[in-house]
Structures are given as C-alpha cells and as structure tokens.
Symmetry: C2
Subunit: 903 residues, 2 copies
C-alpha cells in the first residue's frame, strides 16, 4: 500500500499550513467556524471535522480548542490562560443545545471524546479520552436510554480506566489486574463474559484504585473531568516521547496540539446501528466503487480489536438501502470536494448516519495510478495535478512480483529490502550450485554471507539473493537491483554457515540446502517455505501517466545497463540512453576470466597485451550488442574500475586450479595475490589509477569500443558513445587517459574510415574531483557524478561496513536517511553543486549527470533537478520512477523559475 | 648537505626573474654589459659570470646570446634570426681583441667554451661544447704556444668527439670504440698512456668517423664550428629529455636557453697552473675559513674524473702565496657582494688566476645555521634575512643521529625515508623479541612486513624500524616519527619472511635474526652490518635562530605527544602545547590490553563498563603525567579513534591464548573477531562512530581526563584541557558526544569541587566535516584539521595502499609531492579553507589548528599560515622545523598584509 501523506485538499503542502488570521483572543472554535485550511490552528483532526461540518456532512457536533492555547498553556508554566474556561463553557453549552443532551445528565447524558491533534500527524504520541461525562448518575441514564445496562457500565468502566491512566497518571497495570481478577472470579477468559453486575463491582474496584493512587475520589463533576482531560492533552505535547518523536521526524515550528471535543455516537446501540470504513474507490485496483467494511451493532474499537469479523459494505445495500445510498452520496460529495479518493469512517446510531473522519485514502501503487488517470479523464484533475498525486517511488512495485497480500507467512528474519520483488526457491549456498540448478530448471535462492563479483553468474541464475552482511548498496544489492532481481541483504540475525550449508534462524529453525524459502525484497522479510506471490502488470494507465511525465520533465532519464538484455529492458521502460555501462562485469564468463587473470598476473607489458588481445573480441562483441540496442541514443561506457584482485580466485582450491591453468607454482601465485591485497581496497589501486599504471587496459577498451561503433556504422546503425574515465582526482589523470582513448579511437577511425565523434568524459566520485572540476572540465567533455563513491568518501563511510553503525545512527536520529539510498544534500550535494558550478564555469553547458544508486531515488532526483544536472541514470527497473520523479521536480520548481530566482 | 636553491643575491625568487628591459634587437651581451638580475635574459650561468666581470673579478672574457634568441630560433622553425650572425661576429671580434688571441690562429689560437644556461638550472639537460676553435692549423699553434704537444692533440681529439656527439649527432660509442682500439694498439689501460703520435692518429680516425657518419669533412672553419654549436645548444632546449624534465619539475614560462661563449683557460699548462674549488666558509661546520681543494697542473674535469686526488687549498698558501691571498680576497669580495657563503670554481693558468663560477654554497644544516647567525653577528644580514636563509626542513637533521658522511656501506635495499635518523642493531622479527633484547641491553632493529598497534612496545624497544610495505604515513612511519625513532618503510624489494625469520635482498643476500643491519631514515637506505653514525648537537646558534623565529611567527607550534616523555621532549624543543594526544597507544601495555579486549568482547554494556572501570585508573595516571609536563599549556586529548579490531590478537596462537584468558571457547572468540572484521577499516566503525554506539567509552575517557586535571588542580598545577572528538561528519555526532563529555566533566567537577573549564572540540578530517563546519562550530569550541585522513578521503587514497601507485604518479609528474607528506593545497587545502571560513562565520575567532603529519612540513605550514590557522602541531622532533617554517611564512606574507589583501 502506498503511504499517501499528501493532504487531501491542496496540492502543495505549504497551502495547508497557511491559516486564516484567528480572531483575537478566540480560543475555541465550533466545528461550523472551522475550515480545512485552519490545520495549523485547529490541528489536522479538528480542521478536518470542521470542514466536513461546513460542507453539511452529518458529523457528531463539537468544538476545537486551538493549538495557540496549548502554546500559551505551556508558556504560562502549564496553567490555563484566564480566558479559556469561559469560552469552553459557552461552546459546551452550544454543544449540549445542538445535541439535545446534557453532560452528566441522569436521563440521557451527553458523552464526549477529548482528542489531541497537531497540524502534523504524530500518531500515538499524544493522549485521547473517550466517554467523558460519565459518572454515577449518568451511567444509569445511559443504561436506561440505550436499554443496555451492560453497555453503560462497560462504558463507565472503560472511561475510569482511560481517565485514570491518561489524566490521573495511574499505572494502567493496576486496572488491568483488577479486570483480570474480575474475569477470574467469574471464570471467563474474555471481558465479554462479564455480567452487568460484575461490571458494577469492577467500577467500584476502579474507584478504589483511583482513591488509593491519588488520595481523592474519582471526579464526578463532568466539567471537572473535561478541564482535567484538556490539561492532560496539552501536557502530552511536551511529554518526553512526543518531543523525541518531533526531534527524530524533524517537526519544528508548531504551536502545540489542538483539543477536539466531540459528542460520542454509538454504533452498538439497539436497532439500526453499526460502524464501518469505506473508500470512495477501490484502494487495491483503483476501480470506481464504494469499497469497505461494515460491522453491525459494534463500535469502531470492536473492528480494530478483531473480535468480530466485519462484512463487505455492500451488505448495507440490502439491509439499510436508504443509509447505503446516503453513504454513497456522502462519499461522492467528499471525493468531489477533496478531489481525491477518500477513506471515510462512519457510525450508524439507531438509524442515523454519522461520518467521523475522512482523509485521502491509502492505496496500492496500481490504484494510485488508475485513480490519478481516471480523475483526469473525469475532468477532476489536470494532468499536472495527477502527476503529483502518485508517489514516484511506488511505481517500483509495479515492475516486480510481490507477496500476495493475504498470504500466510512464517518470518525467519528481517533483513534490508535491498532490491524489490518477491521470490521463492530452494536454498543454494554457492553460485555454481545456483547455475546448475537453474540449468535443470529449478528455482533457487542464492544464500551467501556476502557476495563478490565471482557470484554474479549465480545471482543471474537465482530467483533471489539473500546475504547476512552488507547494506542497501552492498555488492549483492547493487547487482541485484541492476538485474531487477529480488534481494535481501544484511539479515544479520541469520547464521549462514556456507561450509555446513545451513541457515540458523534466531528461533532455532535450521534451513538446509534444498529447503524452500521466500524473500520479500520490498520489506526485507525472509520466510520459510514458498509463499504465494503475485505478478505485476504495467498497465495502459501507467504508460499514460509516464507519457504525461515525459512532456513535463526537464531532465533526461538514462539507465545503468551492462548487457544488451538490460539495455533492451531499459529502453522498453523509457530510458533515453545508458548513463553507466560497467565493463568489469563483462570479464566474469569462464572463457574470459582466464584471459583476465593472465593479464593481471603477467610479468610485463607484453604479457598483459597478449592477454588483453584475447579479451578484445569479447569486449567488442559486448559493446556492439549494447550499442545496437541503444541505436541513436547516448551510451556512457566506463573503463575498467575495480581493483584487480576482485578478478582473482579466493580459497585454496580455486588458487590451485588457477596455478595449474597458468602453469605457475602455487606459491608464486599466492605471493602475487598477496602483493595485490589491499588494506582498504575502496581507496586503493583501482579506477583510473590502474590504467595510469597499465595504460594498455584503457587502450584495449578504447579499441574495442571504437571498433564496435565502426562495425555498427558500417551496418548503418547510429551510435553516440561517451567513454568515461573512473575515479579521477587529478586533472593529469584524466588528461593522460583521455589522450590514450582519443589516440586509439583516432587510429581505429583511420583504419575503418568511419568518423565516430566519441566523447571522453569522467566520473566525478572523489571530493577532490568536485573541487578541481574546473581544471578537469578543461579537457573532459562530460561529467557523471558517481554519488555512491562520492558519498563514501565525503562521509568516510565504507558501504560494506556502514551496516555496523548506520542503523544505530538512524535510530538515534543522527541520519534522517541512509545516505547511500537518498543523497545527502547538505554534504555530498554541496560537493555536487560545487562540481557543476566549477565545471560549467570552465566549459559552458558542460553535460552533467548522475549515475549512482541515487539516480533512482525521487528525493535525490529532485535535488539533481535543482542542481541543474542534464540527466539521471538508474537501474532499468527504476526508469519509470525516475521519469515520474523528474516530472514532479519540474512541476514543483521549473528550471526557468529556479534560474530567475538565482539571478 | 642542505640543498640551497635560494638564489644568492636576492631574498625573494621573484626578484631574480625580473629583468631589465632588453635593448631592442640586442641579442648578444658582452659580460661587461650583463648583471646578476638579468638571469631571465642571459640564463643563470651567463648572468652570474657577467656579474663577476662587472665586479672586476678576473673571469675569462666572453659574451652571452640571449634566451629570447633561443625562443625566436624555435619560433622560426629552428632557424637563426637574421640579425644574430652580425652581432655574434662583433662580439667575437671584441673577445679576440680582449684576449689577444684569434679563433683558429696558427700561432696562439683562442679556444672557447659554448655552454647552455636557462634562467632556472636544469643540470645535465642541455648541451655544452668545449675547446671550440681547434682545427688542423690551430692545434699546431696550441702545441707550440703551450709547449705541450700531447695536451694540444688531446684537446683536439676531445673537441672532435664532443662536437661529433653534441653538434653532429654521431653515436658517441663510435668514438669510444676508436679510443679503445688506440689503447689496445698501444697496450695501455688508460688514455694517459697514449703518446702524442697515437693521438694524432686517433684524430685521423675521429675525422674518418665524422666523414662516414655525416658524409662531410669535420668543419675546419672556427666560425662554422661556433654557429653549429650555438644551433645545437638552442635545439637541446626542445629535446625530449629537456621537455620531460621541465614538465616534471613544473618549469614553465621560460623563453629558452641562453648561450655563453667564453675563452677557455687551462690549468694544465706548464708553470704555476692548476684548478680548484673553494668555499668562503666551511660548508660542514659553518666556520669562517677558506675551505676547499686544489689540483696542480690539472683541468677541472680531472678533479671530477677522480683520476688524481686533490690537496687541501691551504697548500697554495705556501706554494703560491700571492695567488692564495688573491683568492682569499676574491672569496671575501664575492661573499660580501652576495651576502652569503660562496662556492667558487677557479683555474690558475701560468700564474694567472681566473674565477670560472661562483654560487651560493651548499652546506650542512649545522653550517647553514651557524653561517646565518654569524652573518647577523657580522652585521651582514638582518635577523629576518637570516631566518629566510636556513631551510626549515634541514633542522630535522640536527635532532637525529646520521650516518657518518664517509662511512663505508653495503646497501641491501632502498625504502622510503619514513622517519629520520640512523640506527644500527641486530635484526628481530617481532615486538616481543625486541622488548626482550632491549631488556638485556641489546640494540635491535625491528623488522616487520608491516606494523600494527600491537607492535608499538617493540618499536619503543628497538633502535629503528624497517617494514616492507606502507608509505610515509603508514602506521610504522607515523609512530616512529612520533617517537623520534629512525624508520624505513616500503622497502618492497626485500622479502621479509617473518615465520622463517629471514630477509632476502634482491642480490640474494639473506639476513637472519640476530644479524646486524643499519637503517638510514634520512635516505631510506638499508645497509648490511653496523655502519658508523654520528650524534647531533643542538647548538647555541640553533637556539638563537629559533628564538628569532619565535619573535616573528604568528602561528603557535604544538606537538603531537602521547606520553609524558614525549611531552617533556616536545616542551624542550619549544612546543607551546600538545595539539594531538592519541589515547589509543595507552592501551597496549600488557596489563591494559587485557582489560581493553574484555571491553571489546563484552556481551553487553554492563560488561563493557566493568572493563572500562579497570582501564580508568591507567588513563587517569597517563593524563595526569602528560598534563603535569605541559603545566600551563593547552593539551588536546583525542578520544579513542581506531577500529576496535586493532586491539585484538592476530594469529592462531594469540587467539587461543586470549580465549584461555577470557575463558571463552576459541570458536566463539573467532566468530566475534570475524564480526569485527571490516572490508575498508579506514572508513569503518571507528572514531566517534564507535562512541556513538558505545558512549560508555567516551564517558570513561572524559572521567579519566577530568579526574586527572582535578588531581593536578589540587596540587596547584594549572591545566588547559581540550577534549577532541575524532572523525565527526555530522553535527549530531559531535553534539551527542560533546554532551557525554560535558556531562561527565560536570559530574567530576561537582565531585571534586574543582572548576576546570574543559573545552570540547573536534577533529575535522572528513570532507563532510569541512562542508558542515558551520553547523559543527555551533557547538564545537575548536577545530583541529586532521589532514592525514582528510587527504585520504579527499583523494580516495588509502595511505596503506597508495604505495602501489603514488610512486608511478610522482614519476609521471601527476603529483608534484606525496600528498601525505606535503599538503595538497589545491584540493585538501580548499576544503581546509572552506572549513575555516564556515566555522568562523558561525563562531567568530574559532580556534583552529592542524595536527596531521603535515604540521611538520614547511610548505604545508606556509599554507596553514595563509589559511589563518592559529597553530600547527607536529611530532616533537619537528617542532624546531615548524617554529622556523612558521616564522618564514610570516616574513614572506605577514597576516596583516594577507588580511588587507583579502579586503
């Protein structure tokens, strides 16, 4: 389900916080005096119910005490402002008049709820009191009037318990113990087994608890109850947990909480009574229909408690057709008013329908798109508004299988949701086993402590990947996302024993090779057995929405793709080029890795060149395949990046085998491997540093690229190759390698007679490269910000190791987001901005893009838009997300406006 | 010996390059027309000899062709400008007139040298021709006039050989072969064995070689010889090797080379003839005396060739007293003129003294200081000038033993000169062996593949440290420099087998445990056996110079010191506080490491606190010792920084022992060690990240610090403690830990009743910290730039691994300096400047310093001065260097001037 945090009435959040100027000294607003826009003054809940009342929707009557009163209360050292009591008295009198009942009345008492509610929702953080107004006299009146003695005494018992806990600060365990004793005395397991007489006795015990804890009687005067409850709500604003919540969520600038006092209505009275929830459209499919549930003769809490099972709301059509029609009409009215699908709580009290709350309904990604496009078709929304209604990130769900919503599951552990989708299969513990099983047609899940490039063929063969270590941007996560393959990483509570081929779960369950497990890459859950999954459809409505997005956005969207298959998929998803084609993955097929290893272990340049010559045809064919798929679109190819030891075998067996292959003594091979070992490989001999020491690698790759492009030119296929030098920190590094590439490309052009205009640029992924962007741009024809590595170096966080402390940082509120998932705009973003500014100062109109994992994250995409980048590049499966996110960024802050503001 | 690159006449290099405007079209200058300031136009050599001529010093007459002529020559496609020939002809005629000889004359021929010389010296890069003017006629005249037939023909033979090689481009091996044949025919081993007749035949053979190689006769016309030689010198400016040299040395903006044509004089003629070199003061001790060597009846090249051994110049006093007095007078005159000690080449030709060259003499560090202070005492220099005359870095030599200059040595390998000084001792391969040997009073050299904190006690015990891996800022290097202990790192050609306890050198020599070796930490040489060393003295003149420096400098100088002994030494060297006291080294003593390991391996907070409580008294005592030594001065104490696994044992034996100690199963201990393993520890769970997850560590350290300071306060000892939080990247990290420290300090203050005003600040060592300096400075009371780590993260260079590619970068000219040795001002410096600016914008007058290895590097100190830092902190042995370098920075650019320029 999509979290729909957008306020229902307005498109921009700013609007919701703009409040009409309050009347001086006015602390209490009747519902009829309020409006949805008064959120800041009346809180979200108060403004919402006031808006419904204003629209003529039947809501239980009531009034709201303003957030400013809360602020004044706290400013005054937690004392009520002098002018509050009189205004509350007046509003209460009006409420009694409107409802025809009186608080504490012995015949037909008015009961009210007292609820907190700030301008921004803080679920569960502040207090609420229900059934207020009950006392020894009123409980009799309620019993008489409702004709249900048990209901009345149960309500009284609940009120004392809630008031005792929330307002009087009595340990709620005392009440729970008394309740448990009452059940024990009656010999029943459930509260529902208590008789009315039991409940009257329980009320006596509760009163005793209150007397013993506070030294005073439970207050019988409803007006005293009310003012004490208001005080408790105000005080809960400054409670430790509420303050902590606001700090963590970054909520600042609010005056306090409002207090909404509203007449209670009861769906559990005799006659046509009940309670339910409806959506104005189907929240799963988006279809236009009244959708929801109804529970006859019940209160809302009964639904929540799950004691009784509700029925589809359609049952009302037959049982109470008039009320059903009324509900349908109100639902339509609210949707039309708020111009969005609504989630409505209602109660029917003895044949009278009350709406308790309405809000923008949460919906699935599929429904969100359908509703948005339908609302455009219905003339309710403009295309632009529709684009802003869909959470860009949610589109990701539409491209991967997911766990069926109602599937039964036994969760073994929860790791990080590293790559979305769901997959079930038999457990295998090594890449070769995965490949063998896949060759037999079996579905497997590859389980590793962590993955390395040696595992890539196994990841390809598996349905999903599970690792015990690593974060959201670990090798497993990045590669799996690139493949669009489900992956759960960092499932640290699982003990993965690769040698014994077992997984031990915290509860002691042992999973062996061949046992079935299921991964949910959207939640990080690891489940026992094969759990049912559902397949996605990329419907016409999604294509429609993305077409509108394309018309609006100002940034291009490219994909990161290393194979012709990935390239084709990316193009199908709407990619306008490849922003990052990694060449190292091309070296892992068995016939290639051997040549690669020979190259690495060669004693001299001649030996390296001989091995590289054997790799050349493979690379040329790979490049030709990718360039053909992307005919006419730009393709950025990164030269070899990782440290050489990543290509070498690990483990005694593999080393002995390689030594045999290469006909060198095992000890000599081990010495060489030892020499290649690095203390901090991420900051070691990799990227362009490798090619500065071994320029023949760059030369081979430049030749393979240019020959591939020439070959396609001969076939009449248009190409636009951009060669990217990785990990440049010194302008001299770039210049030296750009010379090699340009020189080799010129040679091939001369040999083949095709002029290809290959561009040479660099990946900006070191802080120093951002600082020296001007000098680098003197020769570099484009910049692509590699924000994965830039994040690592700016923070000094190794993404392989950050799992040891980043979760604690998130918990403590030190990091609002995982900086590897969502770009750190304050730090890393500052460097990106410096890089763009300095680069463009030297080379006007320098083409800039981003090709880190952040290229598929909507918040990061919005940043890139603001920073003036020309494109973002992300994994193929994120391309639709990026198209929509880029459009949203343009709608929220068009570049023409940004440029004008900058002037 | 100190490299004295300062030009002799002027204090600022800029001055030397400012040239009087040349006369339009004037391409040739007689010596009498030139001056020292015309370096850019006449080249260093030409300007220098012209200056001597102008002063009335007897120099062989001659003239100079300007550098601009060279530029024009190259601009014209390597053709002479039309107006050159006439000017050369005129100058030559004047030279002939002055010398009374004619070029090519059959009676008394003039011979000339034709030398290159640019404004900046490029030794050996460009060409020279000697004895020009000889031909078949002149050789007879020379023989007659000199009365030495052999000399004349040998000169002719040498001229043809040199001209053939340099001007005609003939492979010099052809001449060498002919010479070898001549020796073989005569049956002698040395050229001196050839008779005059042999030489006339050899000249014939040489002429044949020329004819065969060029198809033309050897040119007999002296004017043709001259113009061809000039052309050759001009062309050598654009030779591949000269261009490469200029690129690597960063020499740009020069017009070309000048050509100096000067009459030859001969010290090997009959009568009072000879050649020599003198210094106006003793270049080893600095004493005021004529110091040098003389070789009778010889040419300068004979001295260089080492065929004959020269005598002390004092022999002239008896043999040619008049000439000795003249030489002394000229030496004094030149020293007075240049206001610096001179290195003078002279030749005596038949009783006539000629000075060939004078320049600022190279001198030892000791001599440099003595000369500078003596020149002040003599009224020649001001104190400020004297401060600028001494290479700050050279003071480092004065504090360490060095290899005796003339000691015999067998060099096994050359590593990096990681920590200066020299040391000899028996080889040991582990820290415990080092400690045991030291306990027995034996001197040892600790040899390791690489060191870790576990080796620190062994490093303490050893005379010096040798490692096969690691760079200038590896663990071994940093710790050794801190200890002032000689260290050679990265001696990669040595195969160190720790298990077998052998070192195998490239030449096959095997050194075993107990064998003696000697290290030279100033050159990186590893030598077999015990080579003689000499001990330093920090003389009164050094103290005098440093006192002058202290009066001038605007930055404070602190030291990095971890023990009371280091602190005392630093204070003795003039440190004004401790800028970095690392606390982790305090945990390695045997009784402490066990508690540390228990802390790390504890299952919960209670277990950690119990172990930390045991460490507290040790830390408190350490801090008390250091604070007492630094009474009254600020001491910056860094909280625990390295990743925890650095404290844990490596190797099966040590692990088993620890498991026994801790009474846990070996397997469980191994699992824990595995869990602590990191892929990139430099970017892992360390620094403040450790204390965010385990705040009890910071709490213990804060308590130990505050209790130590309180204890001293009770004794009446004043302290100024600055607690430093390492590796902060997020303001929240700093705030959280500053809260812990301030809270604990306040508790201790309340307990003891001493108010200590402990400051809490942070180490700025992540790019993000520089960018977020404003937010961090909101709470941080000081910044200390940790430029070691900042360099690592800005470049993305692991200092442990950079040895794999940084040397290649240096060779290719991609890096002018090792960025770990000298601060990268363009990149890292830019971040430092951003950090200072943003920090001070938030907190006016924020105290800032630097505590990386760069704090002891003069170029980096100059940068820190310009960046407005308040202090630099370096290892104790670098404190004198830093005091002088800071003074030099202030003299070159006083901050008042910098501030005015910035406005």
């Amino acid at each position: 389900m999509v979290k729909q945090t957008k306020p229902p009435v307005a498109v921009t959040p700013d609007l919701c916080l703009s409040t009409p100027a309050p009347v001086a000294g006015k602390r209490v607003y009747a519902f009829s005096e309020g409006r949805a826009e008064m959120r800041e003054l009346l809180g979200g809940k108060g403004a919402n119910v006031a808006e419904m009342a204003r629209l003529g929707i039947p809501v239980p009557p009531g009034f709201v005490i303003t957030t400013e009163t809360c602020r004044d209360f706290n400013t005054l050292g937690q004392r009520f402002p002098a002018d509050l009591q009189l205004q509350v008295d007046k509003a209460l009198a009006a409420l009694e008049a409107q409802s025809g009942r009186k608080l504490g009345d012995a015949e037909d008492p008015l009961l009210v709820s007292v609820r907190s509610g700030a301008a921004i929702s803080m679920p569960g953080m502040m207090d609420t009191v229900l059934n207020l107004g009950l006392n020894d006299r009123a409980v009799a009146g309620l019993a008489r009037k409702s004709g249900d003695v048990r209901f009345a005494w149960d309500a009284y018992r609940r009120f004392i318990q809630m008031f005792g806990d929330v307002v009087l600060g009595i340990d709620h365990a005392l009440f729970e113990e008394a309740l448990a004793e009452a059940r024990a005395e009656r010999g029943v397991a459930e509260d529902t087994g208590l008789t009315p007489v039991d409940l009257t006795r329980l009320v006596d015990r509760y009163k005793l608890i209150v007397r013993q804890a506070t030294g005073a009687e439970f207050p019988q005067e409803p007006e005293v109850q009310l003012m004490k409850a208001i005080r408790a709500v105000f005080m809960s604003w400054e409670s430790q947990r509420a303050r902590t919540y606001r700090r963590i969520e970054g909520i600042t600038g609010l005056a306090g909480t409002a207090v909404t006092i509203q007449a209670m209505v009861f769906g559990n009275r005799a006659g046509e009574s009940g309670t339910g929830v409806v959506f104005s459209r189907n929240p799963v499919t988006g279809e236009r229909e009244l959708y929801g549930e109804f529970l006859a003769n019940a209160q809302g809490e009964d639904v929540v408690a799950g004691i009784r099972t509700p029925e589809p709301v359609a049952v009302l059509k037959e049982r109470m057709p008039g009320l059903y029609d009324e509900l349908t009409a109100l639902s339509d009215k609210l949707e039309a008013h708020y111009r969005d699908m609504q989630d409505i709580e209602f109660t029917i009290e003895q044949g009278k329908l009350f709406l308790l709350q309405t809000r923008g309904g949460k919906r699935s990604a599929r429904a969100a798109v359908r509703i948005a496009t339908d609302l455009v078709a219905e003339g309710v929304l403009t295309r632009e508004e529709a684009l802003l209604r869909v959470d860009a990130m949610s589109l990701d769900q539409l491209l991967h299988p997911t766990i069926a919503p109602d599937a039964k599951r036994t969760v073994l552990a929860r790791g990080l949701p590293a790559s979305p989708g769901a997959a079930a299969g038999a457990v295998v513990f090594c890449a070769d086993a995965a490949e063998a099983a896949a060759a037999r047609g079996d579905k497997v899940i590859l389980v590793r402590r962590e993955t390395s490039p040696e595992d890539v063929h196994g990841m390809h063969a598996a349905q999903g990947v599970l690792t015990a270590t690593g974060g959201m941007t670990s090798h497993a996560a990045v590669v799996a996302r690139g493949m669009g393959k489900c992956c759960v990483t960092g499932a640290g509570t699982l003990i993965i024993n690769e040698a014994a081929e077992t997984i031990t779960a915290p509860d002691g369950t042992v999973v062996k090779a061949g046992d079935l497990i299921t991964l949910d890459g959207g939640t990080g859950e690891v489940m026992l057995g094969a759990v049912e999954t559902v397949l996605p459809e990329l419907g016409e409505d999604v294509r429609q929405l993305l077409a509108w997005a394309d018309a609006v956005r100002e940034m291009k969207v490219r994909a990161n793709a290393d194979t012709p298959e990935d390239a084709a998929r990316a193009r199908d998803f709407g990619a306008e080029g490849i922003g990052l084609c990694r060449t190292e993955h091309m070296f892992f097929a068995p016939e290639r890795i051997r040549a690669m290893r020979e190259m690495i272990l060669a004693e001299d340049e001649a030996g390296r060149i001989a091995a590289l010559d054997r790799l050349l045809p493979y690379q040329r064919a790979d490049f030709a395949g990718i360039l053909k798929e992307m005919a006419g679109l730009p393709v950025t190819i990164r030269l070899l990046d990782p440290p050489l030891h990543e290509f070498l075998p690990q483990g005694e067996g593999a080393i002995a085998e390689l030594a045999g292959d290469l006909k060198v003594p095992v000890e000599r091979l081990k010495d060489r491997l030892h020499a290649l070992h690095e203390a901090n490989p991420m900051m070691g001999h990799r990227g362009c540093r490798l090619m500065i020491t071994y320029p023949e690698i760059a030369r081979m790759q430049a030749r393979a690229i240019t020959e591939a492009a020439s070959q396609l030119a001969a076939e009449g296929v248009e190409t636009a190759v951009e060669v990217m030098v990785p990990l440049v920190g010194l302008e001299g590094e770039f210049n030296a390698l750009a010379d090699v590439v340009r020189d080799e490309a010129a040679k091939v052009e001369a040999e083949t007679g095709h002029t290809l205009a290959i561009k040479v640029g660099t990946m900006i992924e070191l802080p120093r490269a951002c600082l020296r962007a001007g000098e680098i741009a003197a020769s570099a024809e484009f910049f692509s910000f590699g924000t994965n590595d830039l994040t690592q170096f700016t923070f000094g966080f190794s993404r392989d190791d950050a799992g040891k402390f980043v979760p604690a940082y998130r918990e403590r509120g030190l990091l609002a987001h995982d900086p590897f998932a969502s770009l750190d705009t304050d730090g890393v973003g500052d460097l990106v901005a410096i890089g763009v500014a300095r680069g463009r100062a030297k080379r006007a109109g320098l083409k800039t893009g981003i090709c880190g994992e952040h290229g598929g994250d909507p918040a990061s995409i919005a940043f890139c838009h603001g920073a003036g980048l020309d494109y973002v590049s992300c994994s193929p499966y994120r391309v639709p997300v990026a198209r929509l996110a880029a459009a949203q960024a343009s709608l929220k802050a068009p570049r023409t406006v940004l440029a004008a503001a900058a002037e």
